[in-house]
Amino acid sequence: MKKMVKIKGKTYHLNYILGLVITSLVLLIVIIGFFYTPYDPNTMNAALKNSPPSLMHPLGTDNFGRDILSRVMVGAGTTYVIAVSIVLIGAFFGTVVGALTGYFGGWLDEVIMRFNDVLTAIPSILLALVFVSIFGPGTYNIIFALGILFVPSYARVIRSEFIVLRERDFVNNAKLMGAGSLRIMFIHILPNTRNVLIPALLIGFNNAVLAEAGLSYLGLGVQPPQASLGRMLSEAQSYLLDSPWYALAPGLMIILTVLGFSLISGGMGND
């Protein structure tokens, strides 16, 4: 929090730099995974069941003899795509709701915010479980469910920014020049919320990664044979005794992802 680093005349938090390094490494693995993996992530090999890390398979193989490194690369990609979709859905609708309620206020604001209060008090994994039990498990269903569940948190953040910003001179100026409400909200005010919106996006991404991992771990998210970090952990659970490396690889990948993003958002926050 207090250790600063100077790069090209600008000062950064040490945490911020550390977060960028971790995140870049993790992202590199994921991006490579989209194009190339050492082995096919779903090809089984009965001769190589549960083999420990070796030169051929740096992270070992799982109970079907599949290469764990390849599966982690692809699985992290699945998790990232799901998490990004969730955050985009949540942030988009949250921004619209937050902007409208914060800018106009009134009874609609009151109603939506009370509803928001109830929703935020309840753990999101529980609500996600309700969704899954109604619409059934599966990748698209958890994107849909968690995306909707993320709306209130963004609505809240954007709303409180809009309440402050709508009184500022540049908004009055724009009004005098005849700009319409929609233009003021999304062209003038919205860009000024970036200082809170960007950390909120990063933290939202982390929450989405953890939620996906949790739901897939319970067997309610990504379905086999598709790999995701949570799905791999759920499969690794039964082989903890014989092949502990199976669980460690996807688990560490989740930790590094979440750690990297939270270091970045923490380092941006309190200058």
Partner: protein, 315 residues
């Protein structure tokens, strides 16, 4: 008094809304619950009789009221996931105790460990130990509780053999052994939350230290430790109380996952198996239980909060 009544009214409205939502959410599921319960080869008359018995052919509001009446008495209808007909309420009562113990133990661990650590860390601001604690908390905040549970099973269960994985024993059979087993899942639930609480408490204390009254106390010649304990702590703990209470919802959520890791017969595992088996009576009941608990705790916290900090009443 007025404040309490207002909060009480909000509590009742929130609980009612929750019950309406929990009930209606499960009405939009496609499929015929009579057909689900009796199977494909039930005759028309059997289906009709089942609907009559269960009150399924009444209108939605009447069914809601009947359901709510039952729910208030702890009767949520019949569970369908086991061969034997079982009351959803009975099923839940058996599992509830495990989850409550897990939540209470984790909560105690959080309070007992994070408050001294937070104070220590803030007292030694920017020292080596403080930096170390900050680094460790940052790391543990990123560990999902269920993965931590797997690590604990691996390290303490399989490598060190401090406990045998899967050797859960019911509290009424051997309470000591029950506690000895439960401490491991409780640690898995608690550790990420301990990290969050330490970080929160530390920054709350540091914010408080900047205030004028601290300077006054210092100029009066009080020692640093004394100021910290006598003056700062009292004020800095107020936001922490709310933080801890909000954490309780997270603890319950963490418990759902960790129960799965340690094979504990708690509410979380029942919930997951009920979802997998489309046993909606049980799912509804568990959701209603957990959400009500969270809402009631929030209400109690509001009351405690205005008792320790009367300023909130004015807002």
């Amino acid at each position: 008094m007025k404040y309490t009544l207002k909060k009480l009214a909000t509590l009742i409205v929130s609980l009612l809304i929750t019950s309406v939502l929990t009930f209606t959410a499960f009405q939009i599921i496609p499929g015929d619950s009579a057909l689900n319960a009796l199977g494909m080869d039930a005759t028309k008359e059997q289906l009709e009789r089942y609907r009559e018995e269960m009150g399924l052919n009444k209108s939605l509001p009447i069914r809601y009221i009947n359901w709510l009446k039952g729910a208030l008495k702890g009767d949520f209808g019949y569970s369908t996931q086991y061969q034997m007909q079982m009351k959803a309420g009975t099923l839940i009562k058996e599992r509830l105790i495990v989850t409550i113990w897990l939540a209470v133990m984790s909560f105690l661990l959080i309070v007992v460990i994070s408050i001294p650590l937070g104070i220590f860390s803030a007292g030694k601001k920017n020292g080596i130990l403080d930096s170390f604690i900050t680094l460790i908390t940052q790391f543990f905040m990123s560990v999902p509780p269920f993965f931590l549970g797997m690590l604990i099973t691996l390290i303490f269960g399989i490598i060190l053999k401090w406990f045998t994985p899967g050797s859960y024993i019911n509290p009424w059979e051997n309470f000591g052994q029950f506690l000895r087993f439960m401490i491991f899942p409780a640690i898995a639930v608690a550790v990420p939350k301990i990290a969050m609480t330490v970080k929160f408490l530390r920054s709350s204390l540091l914010r408080e230290m900047e205030l004028d009254y601290v300077r006054t106390a210092k100029s009066k010649g009080m020692t640093k430790t004394r100021i910290l304990i006598r003056h700062i702590l009292k004020n800095a703990l107020i936001p922490v109380v709310t933080f801890l209470a909000m954490m309780l919802a997270d603890i319950l959520a963490g418990a759902i996952l960790v129960e799965q890791v340690f094979n504990l017969p708690g509410l979380g595992r029942l919930l997951v198996s009920s979802i997998a088996n489309r046993d909606y009576a049980v799912v509804q009941a568990i959701i209603l239980y957990i959400v009500s608990v969270v809402i009631i705790i929030n209400f109690l916290v509001d009351l405690i909060y205005q008792w320790i900090d009367p300023r909130v009443k004015r807002d």
